[in-house]
Every structure is written in C-alpha cells, then in structure tokens.
C-alpha cells in the first residue's frame, strides 16, 4: 500500500486506513454483479454495527445500489414477451443462494475490535 497509489479491495473486507505521514485518502465504491452478495453482507454489517466499525455514512453508495436494482427491473420489464431476461438472472440468484455466512459471535467480534484498538494504541 505504501508503494502503490491505488488499492482495490473486495466488498465485505474489514479494513482501516493507517498512514505514516499526513495524507489525504480517497475512497470509492465499485459494484459488480459477481460480488453483489458480499456487497449485501457488508451493507448489513455496516448497518447493524454502524458507529462501531465505520466512521462515515455512504448515501451516494446507496444511490448506486438503488440504480442497479431499478435498472435490472427495467431490463426485465422491457424483455420480449415476458421471456426471462438474463440481466434478471443474477438479481434473482442473489436473493436465494446456498452460500451462507454465520452470524457473528459477540465474543469474537469484541475480540476483533480489541485487537484493532490495541494496534492503534501501539502506533499512536
């Protein structure tokens, strides 16, 4: 990260930004159908744990997700004679999947937060 100017992370990747010098960091959200499930999971974690794991809201990111959904619905409606639109396939698949993620355990979560705090304490 120190030698590169850009860093890309998959959705639902826990992270925090640490710089050795005063720096300006700029973040952006990119959404892909192939990782939409992870995006949804990250959204849930941030929503439920808001304030404990993030220091900012992302209303613009929410708007992008809204547009992805509305665009998929529009594509479906405009598909020929009710045929199953391929664009909708990923949307429907994303609703129902056998991929599952366990609910977080309170003890493990608090241990994780403690580790992050200790790391920050050592640096500062």
């Amino acid at each position: 990260m120190l030698t590169r100017k850009h860093s890309f992370m998959r959705p639902n990747t826990p992270h925090y930004v640490l710089t050795l010098e005063h720096s300006i960091t700029l973040g952006r959200h990119f959404y892909a159908a192939s990782t939409m499930m992870e995006t949804c999971l990250a959204y849930i974690h941030c929503g439920i744990l808001n304030g404990a794991i993030t220091n900012t809201d992302h209303p613009d990111a929410q708007r992008l997700l809204n547009r992805i959904l509305l665009m998929s619905i529009r594509e479906y409606k405009e598909s020929n004679s009710g045929a199953y639109a391929s664009q909708t396939s990923s949307l429907i698949t994303a609703i129902m999947t056998n991929h599952n993620q366990p609910l977080p355990q309170a003890r493990r979560f608090r241990e994780g937060i403690t580790v992050l705090i200790l790391k920050q304490s050592r640096v500062f």
Binding site: T39, Y76, A94, I95
Partner: protein
C-alpha cells in the same frame, strides 16, 4: 437479496432513525421499495419456479419467505451483538413491524412468529431455500396446463 435489502435499508440507516434523512432520499427509498414489490408481482405473473420437479409460485415459494427471513435475521443479528450506537434493537423491531404492516400485511403474522420464536436452525445471514430453475409460465402451461392450473401452483399474490 439486493432487492429485499434495499427494501429494508432505511431501517439499517442511522440517519433514518435519528430523523436526519433528507426528504428526497426518503422518497427515493420508498420508490425503490414500491418498484421492488411491483417487480415481484410481475415476475410471479410471468414465471414459475421449478423446485424438486414441481412448479411453484415465485411469490410464495421465494419472495415472501426470503423477505421475512431477512427481517428476522436482522433482528437476530442485532440481538446477538447488542450494540446500540446507531439505533436500538427496539427501534429496529418496531420499524420492521411497521414496514410489514404497510407493505406486506399478509406476512406480518409470519414475521411476528419469527421475531418472537427465532428459528434455531437459522444461523446465517442469507436465505437458504432450495435450488430452483426459473420457468416461463406460458411455456409451462403449453407443456402441461393441468399441472399449472390444478392448484399445485397458487395464483400469484402478495
């Protein structure tokens, strides 16, 4: 997942509970919710789901259980971690019940059952129903109209 999540997204937003959400943003979320609900009805009119060799109505076999499941799991997640920095568990539960009363009155009872008697086997965030294949309702009718109209596939409804 995305549609259900965006439908309930306001209830996961701190600014919604603290009444800081702009009117335009609130209107946009309500629009997304309505569009998603309309889409589910439209999809159920056009398509069927093939599950274990039988045709099922998508609304009843997929959409209804998945949104109830997500709502119940959000409450379960909030209960497990018990962190009230953004909004309380009570606010989330009350908000979800109000949302279902407004948009899914027929599912309210199902949600209440899940909220007050959680499913012990529900240990993940995502809905894990059976695998399915999407089938065009008209094509299914053409192949075997008796199966489609004999009551095995309920009429699409919310």
């Amino acid at each position: 997942m995305l549609g259900d999540l965006l439908e309930l997204s306001c209830l996961l937003t701190r600014r919604y509970h603290s009444k800081e959400m702009a009117e335009a943003e609130l209107a946009e979320q309500q629009h997304v919710t309505r569009m998603w609900i309309v889409f589910k009805r439209e999809f159920s009119r056009r398509q069927l789901l093939l599950i274990d060799g039988q045709l099922h109505d998508p609304q009843r076999a997929l959409f209804n259980p998945s949104v109830v499941d997500l709502a119940a799991k959000l409450v379960q997640y909030k209960e497990v971690l018990d962190i009230d920095r953004a909004f309380t568990l009570k606010k989330l539960r009350t908000g979800l019940l109000a949302h279902f009363k407004k948009y899914h009155p027929s599912l309210l009872e199902m949600l209440q059952k899940r909220l007050y008697a959680p499913d012990p086997s529900a240990v993940g965030l995502l809905y894990t129903g059976p695998s399915f294949t999407v089938v065009n309702r008209e094509e299914a009718m053409a192949v075997d109209p008796i199966v489609v109209t004999a009551g095995k596939v309920p009429v699409a409804s919310n």
